[in-house]
Amino acid sequence: MVRRPAILLFVLWCLVVVVLFTWALVNGTSPLADGPTGGGGSSYGARGPRHK
């Protein structure tokens, strides 16, 4: 009559996300940091406005 949703995988996924977030917090890191171990972009390139 009623189906039980399979949510265990999602619970595990949430745990992984929380653990990764905590690890990044403790280690002061981010994949989007500008440097030196982050993956953010460089400011090198053309100077001046992009406005046309």
Binding site: W13, L25, G35
Partner: protein, 403 residues
């Protein structure tokens, strides 16, 4: 309730008939054979030698639910796809039969005398509309005790679920007929208390709120992250300086230190602020560990441009760039800053160099133990992406006529 004690013709074990005259089949508790409850000698319908599982609520148990005393006379386990649940058949001589459905939480199901009117995904019952949420094929995997139909392992029915105001309607279509039942959720803990079984710590909602369940789990995880964030050390300024940068002049170099980073690894933010007018300042930073001479470079750009076009005034550029550096090890550091300013438009390749127009003061602030907001945003996306997909699928499913 009168209990008749009979003998299983297959294995010889005692078989109790708790609703004799009202049930058509009984499954032997010893050998699992299905017997004909309508015949005095319990004719064998289907022999079985399956080892038995014991239901959590024992057959023959009696308890009051909703002010009515019920005897548990039958137990079956069903599944659909990869999900399973169990159902207890309850009996009261005056009230008839009910199903106690256990899918993680308990539902009391009553067969409906009158079939609801169905139109598309909507069903009309008890003066209101019930919305169809799921259709699937349910299979009987295990059976024990008495039933008012000749139930057997492997029996399948097509189930359609409808929801309305927390209750559910369920239609089950088998080879011979369609039956409708209404399921009302039992108050949390009431069934456990009535039958003396361990209290369920968590109640799982029904399928139609699958996305809601995921949303709740994701929200709990997000709140956990927020609580964890509260324990993070606050961002602390470790140095500040001011450098005067000539526009169109030479590169200016300055060093600030020592900058003490006491944690094993920390995030550092370097924020510059300048008042610019169609100018840019290239900022090259280098954090140098005084002890190891390891250096961590990062480069930034402060810029601001403005002008007029056919749509009016425009402006662009960030004169206050903040750069972040991740995972800087513990140590005492010097920050070497190289800054070079220029004006826009820049002279052409063959043009003479532009003259120094003015000197711009640039304030530089360095902070340690910064909180990377983007980590939180990324984690939120990772947590809520799947619930949102489920929500969209659910919404899309509602629009499909062929549900």
């Amino acid at each position: 309730m009168t209990v008749q004690a009979l003998t299983c013709p297959h294995c010889g074990a005692a078989v109790a008939l708790r609703a004799a005259g009202r049930t058509l089949s009984v499954v032997c508790g010893n050998c699992g054979s299905t017997l004909d409850a309508a015949t005095p000698e319990l004719r064998l319908l289907l022999a079985s030698a399956e080892a038995h599982r014991r239901p959590e609520i024992a057959l023959g148990s009696r308890a009051a639910l909703g002010g009515i005393e019920w005897d548990v006379i039958g137990y079956l386990e069903r599944s659909a796809d990869e999900e399973s649940w169990c159902e207890y058949l309850l009996f009261n001589p005056w009230e008839g039969f009910r199903f106690l459905v256990d899918d993680g939480r308990f539902w009391l199901a009553e067969l409906l005398d009158r079939h609801p009117d169905v139109e598309g995904r909507e069903a009309r019952h008890a003066g209101r509309s019930w919305h169809g949420t799921a259709r699937y094929v349910a299979r009987v995997d295990f059976v024990l005790g008495e039933f008012y139909w000749r139930v057997a392992v492997g029996e399948t029915v097509h189930v359609a679920q409808y929801v309305g105001d927390g209750a559910e309607l369920s239609s089950e279509t088998g080879p011979l007929e369609t039956s409708w039942s209404r399921l009302d959720p039992c108050p949390p803990g009431s069934v456990e208390e009535a039958f003396g079984i361990p209290v369920r710590t968590a109640s799982l909602p029904p399928l139609h709120s699958l996305w809601r369940t995921h949303m709740v789990i994701a929200t709990v995880a997000a709140m956990a992250m927020m609580v964890i964030s509260l324990f993070a050390p606050p961002a602390t300024r470790v140095g500040t300086t001011r450098i005067d940068v000539p526009i169109n002049g030479d590169t200016v170099t300055t060093t600030i230190g020592p900058l003490r980073l006491p944690r094993a690894a920390t995030g550092v933010e370097i924020r510059a602020a300048a008042s610019l007018d169609n100018e840019w300042i290239e900022l090259d930073y280098e954090l140098v560990d005084r002890r190891t001479q390891a250096s961590y470079p990062v480069d930034g750009l402060a810029e601001f441009y403005t002008g007029y076009d056919s749509e009016g005034r425009w402006s662009e550029g960030d004169p206050r760039p903040a750069l972040t550096m991740a995972r800087i090890p513990r140590g005492d550091y010097d920050l070497v800053i190289e800054a070079k300013g220029a004006s826009w438009p820049a002279p052409g390749f063959f043009d003479p160099p532009a003259p120094v127009t003015r000197t711009v003061p640039v304030a530089v602030d360095i902070r340690r133990d910064i909180f990377f907001t983007e980590n939180f945003v990324l984690a939120l996306i990772a947590l809520f992406a799947w619930p949102v997909v489920l929500l969209l699928l659910d919404t899309q499913q509602e629009d499909e006529d062929a549900w």
